[in-house]
Symmetry: C2
Subunit: 364 residues, 2 copies
């Protein structure tokens, strides 16, 4: 197509990047684990696709969602697990204990499953103050109560001073798959609309600022919250027209869209100007050279809905708790298959690729 | 009773210890977390009874078993979770990956639940070699396949060099409660028999020797194995006469018996001479001043059975994989309520109390 008058130089560059990206498969060849393997981007994907999926081959795992579905007693339950290693453990708007509950119930909600029960496994560093532990136990209990789930069993391990960073929490959630939910990346079709449930990037930015590593001061709070009420409202409003859901945690909205585009083989086009971002988050991101689309959220979801249900879905999102700024940010396309493009505020297009490094370690 | 000719001096001492022990409640008052809080003994119990149970109050958690029971779809499923932080990660007879699977499916089995599915959450230290990770992923996959369960979902976090000790694994298991199982510490009655499914102390001793901290060399291998086939055989053989099951991991058989005695308010009498212990384990324990009754196992269970079912249960245990040396080691009594006594090889009695410190950290 080189030389064709209908293809601008910029578009050629985009096409070149697309070819390169397509050629990159999830192979795990690194000799050592690096922070990038935990960042939710390309390295994480190589670990999952190159090591875990082949090793544990089964239908549930291969679907690559954050929850596995188990058939039992004539129905379906969802299981999801997450370890939380966030640093610092308390930050504006939340703490590790709140994340550990909301992160896990949200993964269930994304599978269209109503959260039923949680398990709690703690890895504590010798010397952790009882006060810190009490505070997080209370945070976990309060957040679980707010989400309507019981912590039904637990485990505690203590490791020597220096063998953990104060405390790590692993929560696993059990949920009951809702009959109204028919969610799968395979359901995505060109023309489907891409919605977000509110403004993005608050959580990751709050963590970054709480670390005090930057000369920045802004009133940004983590958005940690339970998303089941939001999902329940969406299912009520549009039922089977809801194609797929993802909470935009590690790696942010950009990573989630890339994952869905790859899994569904549709293309996605995001209109940058439509993406709701708190001005302080946008400001901090600009100063730090980070795109808010890659910054973690802990109470925001991406919903892909059929075109004729987009308005009803958006209305439901906006009426849900914390959803005032929900927005339609783009749509699914046919080409380039498996890729995410972003239309900038100036009308140009660029590839919104997977995260390569790890701009913000220990964010959730 | 002092001076009464029918009470020997030794018995008086035992009674004194009993009174002291009864007065000790599970209160969490320590200012900091110590290794003892993860050792499965008194400090762990104070954390559970003094902090977790009040915070997360619900029926399932209050039963203090290793699994929580959740009612769903008209039936009951069991959930259990465990973090594995063992050091070293590979040792004679097994590795952290095998433990992570067997430890979790065994907790389900102890609830009379057939293991259905596992979730896997990894906390990896930056710099972990890919070779070590590959080896453990393979160990997990092979052990899960042997136990007949799928790993249905997972999570990976990476923490900075020095913020973990190579790798920690959190596995959560989902099981289907078997209709034949009516297991509860509340079912224990004076006269019930105490059985173990084989020789004890192998796992903890293998770990201890693998650390190379002691000038001891002995061919002792971890006993890590899946106990569901054993439980299945027991349920087949004696059904509802099986009162309660526990796998004797952290804190060993002694801790499990203390937990059951406290929960059921029966007394227990263990006949030391009947407890099967590998001569090399007994030798190592003697040199190190550790009682094998307190040493961790990863493939042994304690079963409490009704008196008239004891022979059939023992036969079933001996026919199960790895059960050749299964034995009846004692019985439940009326007094002293909630306590465990041991009849030594010389005919004396002493209190087999809960573990106070932590003789062997990072054992499972």
């Amino acid at each position: 197509m080189a030389g064709s008058p209908s293809v601008s130089e910029r578009e050629q560059r985009v096409l070149g990047i697309i070819e390169t990206a397509r050629a990159k498969r999830g192979k795990f060849k690194d000799p050592q684990i690096t922070m990038a393997h935990g960042a939710g981007g390309k390295a994480t994907q190589s670990l999952i696709e190159g090591l875990f999926v082949p090793a544990f081959a089964n239908d549930s795992l291969s679907s690559m969602a954050d929850s596995g579905i188990v058939s039992v007693l004539g129905g379906e339950v969802a299981l999801t697990t997450d370890s939380f290693v966030v640093k610092p453990i308390r930050f504006p708007g939340g703490s590790i204990g709140e994340l550990a509950v909301n992160g896990t119930v949200n993964d269930l909600a994304m599978a269209g499953a109503k959260p039923l029960a949680l398990t709690l496994s703690l890895i504590l560093e010798e010397g952790l103050s009882a006060e810190d532990l009490r505070a997080e136990v209370k945070a976990i209990a309060d957040t679980a109560a707010a989400a309507g789930v019981n912590v039904v069993t637990g485990d505690t391990k203590v490791v020597e001073r220096g063998a953990a960073d104060s405390m790590y929490i692993c929560t696993t959630g059990l949920g009951l798959v809702d009959g109204r939910a028919k969610l799968s990346p395979a359901a995505l079709r060109p023309g489907d609309r891409i919605l977000v449930s509110g403004r993005i990037g608050d959580h990751g930015t709050a963590i970054m600022l709480a670390r005090g590593e930057f000369e920045l001061d802004a009133d940004i709070r983590s958005d940690t919250m339970c998303l089941w009420p939001t999902v329940d409202a969406l299912l009520d409003a549009v039922g089977p027209s809801l194609r797929c859901l993802r909470d935009a945690t590690r790696g942010g909205v950009a990573s989630v869209l890339n994952e869905l585009a790859r899994a569904s083989r549709v293309a996605m086009l995001v209109r940058e100007a439509k993406v709701p971002v708190h001005p302080a988050v946008a400001g901090a991101a600009e100063i730090l050279g980070i795109d808010p689309m890659y910054v973690a959220n802990e109470g925001k979801l991406v919903a892909i809905v059929a075109p004729d249900a987009a308005d009803a879905a958006l209305e439901a999102l906006r009426a849900a708790p914390g959803g005032e700024e929900a927005a339609e940010i783009g749509e699914c396309k046919t080409e380039p298959e498996g890729m995410v493009l972003v239309e900038t505020a100036f009308g140009g297009k660029r590839v919104m690729d997977q995260l390569v490094g790890d701009p913000l370690p220990r964010i959730c």
